[in-house]
Point group: D2
C-alpha cells in the first residue's frame, strides 16, 4: 500500500491539465497559414510563433532549468530570444523586433514545444525523486505556467486580429461565420443599487490566483449602483452621432490630447462603407451588430462615454463586490464565439464574465501588504503597477476556466487591441 | 445702523487677502532681469510673463466677465493667449509655444495686472449692488483665484529654476546665499507604528478647499508604519553608489524603460565636478548638502529607492491620517528659504509640511461621489484624474497658507522639475 | 613722408567699413522691444540677441584672440555660448536652446559689442606693430567678419519674421507701411534664349569672395532659355487653384512626402480670411500683392511649380552665366523695402538681384579643385556641401553690397523661412 | 516565306531573356525557409515575398493591362498591395507595412508569378496581332521589366541580409562558405593621372538604358587622378583606430550629426568579439577579411575617410570617363560570390565593376535636357532626383549583365544597407 503524499497525487493528476492547456494552444493555431505566424504590427502584438515559443520557454526556464539534473536547454539562444521581460534571468530580446525572428522556423518551434512537453511529462511521472517541498513548488509553478499560457491563448487571438487588420485583404481567422440571431433584444439599461458597507476584497480560496489578487483585505465600500449589462454598440453609436468625439468637456485631459493626436473617432475595428457601419472581427468583416456589447475602446473612450451618459465607471472594488455575489453566472459553454454576439440576457446582472473586459475607475496598484511571487517570477505582475488601469470580467476570448471574480487584468488607458468595453455605475 | 449681511462683510475684508497675494507675486519677480521673463525649456515650464498674465486672466475671465456690466476685456486676444486649458471658455494658445509671445511686453502685462486689480478692488468696494447669492459666488471665485495664484507662485520658482538650469552660466535667482549650519545632524530613520482602523479622509471644514479633496468619506485603513523624516541626500547617495540605477529588479517596468531611454542616473539638479557632488539651486550652484532631504526625483526614482531600502511609499490615506494628527507641525516662518536646508528636527515626525512634496503610492483618482466645481472652473482638477500620482505636504516653495493635510497635488510619474522627495512607509 | 605699405593703408581705411557694418546691425534692432530679442521658434531661427553676440564672438575669436598679446575674452563662457558650429575651436552650445540664454542680458551683449568694437578699432589704428603678412591676414579676416555679419543681418530679419509669425498678435517689425503702387503690371513671362558653349564659372576678381565661389573654372554649357522675371504671386495662385498641391505627379518623391506629412498647401506666410488672401510681412499682415514675386517657398514647391508650368529651374551655372552679363542691374537704392513690392520692370531680364533668392537645380557641391579657407574658418562653407541646394541672387533683405553674380547661397530643399522664390528656365 | 519585321523577330527571342531572368529570381529564393519570406526591419528592406509579387505586378500592370483584350488582373487587390510608388496608376500600400501582408501567402505569390509568366509567354508567342508600333513599345517595356527585376534581385539579397542581421542567430543565406585565399595581397594604392578635357557623358548606344543615363552630352572635364583600386578593410580599420569617428573636422556637418545621433562608429555589419573583428555576410558571420574592399558604409563615412586620407571621392563624370576606357574589365564569372572576397588584381585599375558600389561626389540630378520615360513609367527615376548621391560600378550582388559604365545608381547619404564602398580620387 502507498504512502504517497497528497501533493504527489495532485501532481500526478496535473499532467492532464497541462496537456489539455498545451493542446488548446495548438488548436488555436490550426486555422493559420504558415505565413501568418510571424506578424507584428506594433510592439504590443507579438507574432504567434513567438507566443508558442515564449510559453514553452516559461516552462523550460522556470521549471526544467530548476529541477532537472544536468539541465540542457533545447537551444542556448532561446533563453534570450523568448524571454519577454524577466530581467532577473537575463536580457530579453528587443520586444518590437520579434517579427524579425524568421529563425527558428515554425517547425522548429513546434519541435521545441514537443521537447519541453516530453520533459514535463517525465518530470511529473517520476516525481517520486522530489521532496515534498519540491513538489509543492512544482505544483505552483505548473499552475502558474498553465495560467500564463492561457493568458497567451487570449493574446494569440487579439494580436492576430490586430495584425490581420493591417492587411487590406482583411483575412478571416474563422471562415465559418456563426449565425447571428437578429431578433435578440437586450433588456433596457437599469441600475441595481448596492448599499455598500464593510466588505472584503481579494482572493482567499485555496486554489491558484495571481499575487496581485492578494492579500484578501477589508475595505469600507460606499453605496453605489451598477448597470445590469454592458453598453451596446447602438448606444455607443449615439455617442458618436452626438459628436462625443468632438466635445473636449467629456474627456479626461490626457484622453482629449490622445484622440486629437491620433485622430481616433470610433472603436478600433469599426469602419464605414456606403454609409453603413462594419466591424472587422476574427470572422472577417461583418455588418456592425447593434445589440452586441461595444468593445475595443480605450479607457479614455469608456470614461468619456460614461460622462456623456451621466454616469461613471465602477471601481474595481465595486465590480468585485457584485461579481462575488453573481459568480454563478460564469458561462460554461465549451466553444466560445470569437466575437461578442447578441445573446439572451435574462439575468438581473448580465455580461459579467467572458463578454468583454470592463474598464474600471481603479488604477492598477498593489493591495495593502501586497507581496510579489518569490524568486524570478516576482516580475510577473508587481512591476507593472504604475500607469495602468484595472479591467475585470474577461472577454469571449478569455479561457473560461481562467477568469474569476478577483481576477485583475491591466492595460494602459490608451490600449484598444484587447476586447475592452464599458460597464456603467453611479 | 447697518443691515449688511455676514457675507458682505467677509467680502469687504477679502480685498486685503487679494492684494497681499497679488503683491507677493510681484515680490517674487523682483530679482529678475527683464530678459528672464520669457524662458520656456519644455511645455511644462511656462515663462514668468505668461504666469503673470494667466493668473490675471483667471480673475478677469472667471469673475469680471461674469459680474461686470458691459464687460470689456483689457485686450481681446488675451482670452486666447492666456487661457491655460479651459476648453469650456475657448481655445487655448499652444502650450509649448508660450515662450514665443514676445508681445504683449512685460510692461503691458504689468499694466494688465494693475487694470484687473483696480477692477477687482472696485467690485469689492461696491459689492452692495450684488445679491447675497452673487456675493457667495464671488467669495468662492475670489478664494479660488487666490489659491490658483498661489499655485502659480510656486510654479514661477520651479519653472524659472528649470529654465535657468539650461543656461551654462547657471544664473542665480537669489544672490544672497543663506548660511548653512553644517553641524545639524538629522535623527536616524525610525518608523512610527499606526494601528489603522476605520477613519475619515478628505476635507470637512468650512474654509476653502479644492474639489478633489472632497467629499469627506470613511475608509478602512490597515495598520502601517511611517518614517519619522524624509530621505536625505546622503542616503540617496548610497542608493546611487550601490548602483541602484543599474539594477532593473528595483524598478517599475515603466520606470526602468524611462531611465534607460533618458539616461537618468541622479536627481535632476545634481552634477559632479572634480569628484565632488554639487546641486543647482535658486541660489546658484552649491555643494550638495548631505543632511538635506533629497528632492527633484521622479515617482519612479522614489519607488525604486523605497524598494532598495526594503520599504515602500505611503498611500495618500496613510499620509493624511498622520498629517491630520501632526498638523500643528506646519511651520510658520515668514520667509521660506528657496532650497531645503538642514534643520533641527526634534519632532516625532518631521518634514511633514513645506520641505518637499512627498510622492505617494496613490494614483490621482476621484474620491467616492466626487463632484467637480460647477460651471467653467469644473475643468480645474477633475480632468487630470488619470496617469498621475498624488503628492502631499508641499515644498519650501509652497506658500505656507496654501498647504493643508487634505491637499492633493498630482504629477506624472516621470516629472522631476517640482521639489519632490521621499517619505518611506511599511 | 611715409613708407607705409599698401596693405597698411587699406587696413586703415577698413575701420569705416567695419563701423558702418556694425552700426547697421544696430539700426536693424532699433524697432525692437526688449522682449523681442530672445525668440526662437525652431532651431534655424536664432534669437536676435544671439545674432548680436555671435557676430561679435566671430571678430573676438578669429581676430582678437589671434593677434592680441595677453588676449582676455570679454567673458570666458561666451566662447561656448556664442560659437555657432566651429567644432575646431570648441564645443558649441546646443543650437535649439539658444532662446534659453536669458543671461547674458541684452544690455550685456551690447556692452560686449562695444568692447570688441573698441578693441578692433585699436588694432586697426595701431597696426604698425604688425608684419605685412599679419596685415594681409587681418585684412582677410576683417572682410570675412564683415561679410559674416551681413549674412546675420539678413538672418536677423528672416528669423524675427518667422518667430513673430508664431504669435497670434502678428506683431509688426515696421509700423510705417510703404505705399504700394497698384497700377504696376509686370511684363508677361518671356524666355530669353542663350546658345551656351564654353564659359567660365566662379569668382576671379581681386575682391573678397567666399571659398565656395572658387576656383574660377571652365565648363561646357548647353544651350538654354531663361525667364525674363520671377514667378509672381498671381501665377502661383493659379498653381494652387489648379490643385497643384494635390497632384503627386508634379512633385519630387521627397517633396510629395514632405507636403503630405506637414500638410503644406501654400507659401509659408500666406493665409486666408473671409475668402481673401493675406500675407504676413515685416510690416504685419497685408492683402496679398498679386504682382509681387512669390517667396517663402521650398525647393520642392519651386520644382513642382516649374513642372506644372512646363518648365524647369535653372542650374546655378546658367544663372551665373546670365547674371554676369546683366550684373549692371544690381539695384543701388539705399533703403530696401522689407518685403518684395511690385516694381517697374523694364529690363530685358528682371529681378536678378535683391528681389528673392532663386532656387536652382544645382546641389550645393564643391567646385572642381575647391579649397576651403585655411585654419579654423575652413568650417565656414565646405562642411555643408551635402543635402542642400544652391540659391542665387539675394532677396530684398540681403545687403546690397553683399550679393554678387558668383555668390552661392544654400538651403535644404524643405526650407521656407528665407525669402526664396522661382526663376524658370527651359 | 516570311515577312516578319525585325522587331517581331527580336520580340520572339526575348522570351528566353524574360524566362532566364524570372528563373534567376526563383534560384535566389531556393535557400530560403518559408519563414524568411516576410521579413522587413525598416521601410527600405522589403520582404522577399513582396519583391516576388511586385516585380510580377510590374509586368502585369505595365504590359498585360495595356495590351490584353478584356484584361483581368490575377487579384483585384494586388494593384494596391504591390504597387511600390507609382502614384500615377493608383495609391500604393504603406511601404513600411509590407511585412504585415501574410496574405497572399508565398504559395499564392508563386502562382501569381506563373500566371503572369504564362500570359507574357502567350503575348510574345502571338505577337503577330500587334502593330509594329505596339511591338516596339512592348520590346521596351519588356526590357524595362527585366532590368527592373534585376534591380530587385540585388535588393532581395541586400534586404534579406539586413533583415537576417537583426536576428541574434545570424542566419546563413548560403551555408557553403567559399574558400578564402589568404595569400592574396592587393597592389598598393596608386593614383592614375587623367588630363581631362572635352568629353562626353551618358548613354549613346542602341541597347537598353535607363532614362537617367541620357541624353549623351558634352562636358569639360578638369584633370584628375583616380585610385587603382577600392579602399580595403585594413585601410578602413586604420581610420577607425586613428579615431576617425571621433574627429568632427573630418566630417560633413550632416554626417557628423548623423553619426552622433545614431552612435555609428564602424561599417554596418562589423562587430567585435574577444577583440577580434568579424563581419556578418550572406554566408553568416566571418572573420573580417582585411584584403577585401570595405563595404556597407554611408556617403558620410566614405567622404570622411577620403578627407582623412588626404583625398576626395570622384565625381560621377570622372568615374564614367575612366570606366568607359576600362569597360573590358567587366568580370564575366557566372557565379558571383555573395560577399567581396580578396581577388588577384593585376589590372591598372581594379574593382571597377561588381565589387562594391562606389559613392561619388555627385548629387543625383538630371542630365541637361533630361526627359523621363513617357507615360506611367516616367515615375521610375526622375522623381528621385533630390537629396541622393550617385553611385557607380555595381557590387558583387548586381547581376553582371545589368551594370554598365553609364549606369547611375542613387541612395541617400545615410544609407548603408547596400554594398557601398570607397573609390578615392584627387
Amino acid at each position: 500500500m502507498t504512502n504517497k503524499s497528497a501533493v504527489a497525487e495532485k501532481l500526478g493528476s496535473y499532467l492532464e491539465k497541462y496537456q489539455t492547456c498545451r493542446a488548446h494552444t495548438w488548436v488555436l493555431c490550426e486555422p493559420l497559414e504558415q505565413d501568418d505566424y510571424n506578424l507584428q504590427a506594433i510592439a504590443e502584438t507579438s507574432p504567434i510563433k513567438w507566443h508558442l515559443a515564449h510559453t514553452t520557454w516559461f516552462f523550460e526556464t522556470f521549471i526544467l532549468a530548476k529541477l532537472e539534473d544536468n539541465f540542457k536547454p533545447f537551444h542556448p539562444a532561446f533563453h534570450h530570444l523568448f524571454n519577454s521581460y524577466y530581467n532577473g534571468v537575463g536580457k530579453p530580446f528587443i520586444r518590437c523586433n520579434r517579427h524579425l525572428l524568421s529563425r527558428p522556423t515554425v517547425d522548429t518551434v513546434y519541435s521545441y514545444r514537443e521537447y519541453v512537453d516530453e520533459k514535463i511529462k517525465n518530470l511529473l511521472k517520476h516525481n517520486s525523486k522530489l521532496s515534498d517541498h519540491q513538489r509543492e513548488w512544482l505544483l505552483f509553478r505548473l499552475a502558474l505556467g498553465i495560467h500564463h499560457e492561457q493568458q497567451h491563448q487570449e493574446l494569440i487571438l487579439t494580436d492576430l486580429k490586430y495584425n490581420f487588420f493591417q492587411n487590406p485583404l482583411l483575412p478571416r481567422y474563422q471562415t465559418k461565420i456563426p449565425k447571428i440571431n437578429h431578433n435578440i433584444t437586450n433588456p433596457p439599461l437599469r441600475f441595481i443599487e448596492f448599499p455598500g458597507g464593510k466588505t472584503t476584497i481579494g482572493y482567499e480560496d485555496k486554489g491558484f490566483s495571481f499575487d496581485n489578487e492578494k492579500p484578501h483585505h477589508e475595505i469600507s465600500l460606499p453605496s453605489f449602483s451598477f448597470a445590469n449589462r454592458l453598453v451596446l454598440n447602438h448606444e455607443y453609436l449615439e455617442f458618436i452621432e452626438d459628436k462625443g468625439y468632438q466635445k473636449p468637456g467629456l474627456w479626461l485631459s490626457d484622453g482629449w490630447e490622445s484622440i486629437c493626436r491620433s485622430g481616433i473617432n470610433k472603436p478600433l475595428y469599426w469602419f464605414q462603407k456606403n454609409h453603413e457601419w462594419y466591424e472587422y472581427t476574427l470572422y472577417g468583416s461583418m455588418p456592425l451588430s447593434l445589440e452586441s456589447p461595444v468593445c475595443h475602446i480605450s479607457y479614455y473612450e469608456a470614461d468619456a462615454y460614461a460622462r456623456w451618459a451621466g454616469h461613471r465607471l465602477p471601481t474595481e472594488q465595486e465590480w468585485e463586490f457584485v461579481a462575488k455575489r453573481y459568480s454563478h453566472l460564469v458561462d460554461g459553454s465549451p466553444h466560445p464565439p470569437y466575437h461578442p454576439l447578441p445573446q439572451i440576457n435574462n439575468y438581473e446582472i448580465n455580461h459579467l464574465f467572458n463578454h468583454g473586459w470592463q474598464w474600471t475607475l481603479s488604477a492598477y496598484l498593489p493591495y495593502p501588504k501586497f507581496k510579489p511571487f518569490i524568486d524570478e517570477v516576482g516580475e510577473y505582475n508587481g512591476k507593472f503597477m504604475c500607469n495602468q488601469m484595472v479591467l475585470r470580467g474577461g472577454s469571449c476570448l478569455t479561457p473560461h476556466d481562467h477568469i474569476r471574480p478577483t481576477y485583475r487584468n491591466f492595460f494602459y488607458p490608451k490600449d484598444r487591441w484587447q476586447m475592452t468595453g464599458i460597464r456603467l455605475a453611479s
